[in-house]
């Protein structure tokens, strides 16, 4: 019997598969480097806490990356390599000593909130690396650890004096600023925020601050008219933070003014930053956060990302 089928190596399908295969082998050599630089200062926490953090976070947030064989196959490897690069840039437990103690504390609270919201570890990562998932029991361990670090105590003399000194300057109107400071992304400090309506007050016991969030007229009108999902263009929030100054009887007053932060809604102008313009000004001198580096907005966005369903706004406004 005569067959008119061509030999295997002449068939079209075979040739295409071979080309794809060779291409696949070829791209394996295009490998961005994922070095494991030396550990300069590791996270120091109780062993049970450390075990969870190592298992769930260290593959991307430390210099001890443990790549599985399937992570090393291109194109998966490209994705993994870029995750690790971004992950280490944002938070690297192997260079923990490079952060000031206050920043270390802030990072830990931010991280746990990222875990609670389901933003971290990345769902796309845990889908494959199931062992990185943080169980409710793990989360309880982490929460207990952080809660145990909170201590309420009456303010010391230094804090009281610092607040008094700042108050006296402000009271005499010595803090008025002639030229409005501007953040690297072009957003200038808006002095009028203090005449806006407050939309909520919050206490942050993780970093010992008290906060009042003000909304401009457009924001307040939107709240009244149930038009905040999404917030209308032109809405602006100003969130002011003060250090806590606690009395002996447990009443905690606003101490030193720390910063004012703005979120300015404009879905066109700020399309690349979730439709919001972000800026933070520190101390009564209103020093722009981030200096000349416009990438400071990444920090704002990373933190607010879990609130995407609420138009990136954390605090629920109060109607009145």
């Amino acid at each position: 019997m005569r067959t008119n089928r061509k030999p295997l190596y002449q068939r079209k399908a075979f040739i295409i598969i071979m080309i794809l295969f060779l291409g696949f082998v070829g791209i394996q050599f295009v490998r961005p480097d994922v070095p494991n630089p030396p550990v300069t200062g590791d996270l120091e926490v109780p062993a049970d806490v450390k075990a969870i953090v190592q298992r769930a976070c260290y593959d991307c947030h430390s210099n001890n990356t443990n790549l599985r064989w399937y992570d090393k196959i291109v194109p998966v490897y490209w994705g993994v390599a870029s995750h690790i690069k971004d992950g280490r840039a944002d938070l690297n437990f192997s260079e923990w000593n490079k952060l000031a103690p206050a920043d270390q504390k802030a990072k830990l609270w931010e991280s746990i909130n990222q875990i609670i919201s389901g933003a971290m570890p990345l769902p796309s990562y845990t889908a494959v690396h199931t062992e990185a998932k943080v169980s409710p029991a793990d989360l309880a361990v982490l929460k207990n650890y952080l809660a145990s670090m909170v201590h309420n105590k009456p303010a010391d003399t230094a804090a009281i004096n610092a607040a008094d000194k700042q108050y006296q300057h402000w009271e005499k109107n010595e803090t008025a600023i002639a030229k409005l400071p501007t953040a690297a992304n072009g957003i200038a400090y808006i002095p009028d925020y203090k005449n806006w309506q407050p939309i909520s007050t919050t206490e942050r016991f993780d970093n010992n601050t008290l906060r009042v969030i003000f909304g401009n007229d457009i924001a307040v009108k939107a709240i009244k008219e149930n038009n905040i999902h999404p917030w209308p263009n032109g809405a602006i929030f100003a969130k002011v933070a003060w250090a806590q100054l606690q009395d002996k009887d447990g009443t905690t007053h606003t101490g030193e003014f720390k910063q004012v932060e703005y979120m300015i809604k404009d879905d066109k102008k700020y399309a690349s930053t979730y439709g919001w313009g972000w800026a933070r000004f520190k101390t009564p001198k209103m020093v722009p956060y981030g200096g000349a580096n416009v990438l400071f907005t990444n920090e704002c966005m990373n933190c607010h990302k879990p609130m995407a369903a609420e138009d990136f706004v954390f605090t629920l406004p109060i109607k009145h």
Partner: protein, 158 residues
């Protein structure tokens, strides 16, 4: 064509079932202040805010322009037409941020209004209680509350 539409509808339903469809809460409804003729926050500015960790309450003191100015000067002289309003909420944990507390049910609204009466200035105090803002009829301790509210140092708002 009809079959295609049904299939599409079925797929949409299936996808909807998969997504985490918890209703998005947009307002802090618990802490909402009912609009009431008994007080009005319109046009009032923030003088200060404070929390009581022992009682688990958060308060914000509002005032009109005259009240804010007087507060910054230490309320040494009580002039007419000053309005101070102190709103106190119970606190609740912030579901969006472990490490934060936000206002919960309104506990009280205290209003101080000053008015000239002859050569003097009369200081009127009212306390509204709870969700319904019922007027507190027991007037004992009013002088102390007035002193407390007028003794609050304004927050630095540069």
């Amino acid at each position: 064509m009809k079959a295609l539409y049904s299939l599409l509808a079925a797929c949409t339903l299936m996808l909807a079932a998969c997504s985490d469809n918890k209703p998005v809460e947009l307002y802090n409804n618990k802490a909402a202040l009912p609009s009431s003729p008994k007080y009005n926050l319109d046009g009032l500015k923030v003088i200060t805010s404070f929390v009581n960790k022992t009682k688990g309450t958060a308060s914000t003191l509002y005032g009109n322009d005259l009240a804010l100015k007087a507060a910054i000067e230490g309320n040494k002289i009580i002039a007419a037409k000053e309005v101070f309003t102190l709103v106190t909420w119970k606190q609740q944990d912030d579901d969006h941020w472990f490490g934060a507390k936000i206002p919960s049910d309104v506990e009280s609204v205290e209003v101080i209004k000053t008015a000239s009466s002859g050569n003097n200035v009369a200081v009127n105090y009212e306390q509204l209680e709870g969700r319904n803002l019922d007027l507190k009829t027991d007037t004992s301790g009013q002088a102390e509350r007035i002193k407390y509210i007028l003794g609050q140092k304004p927050s630095v708002l540069p």
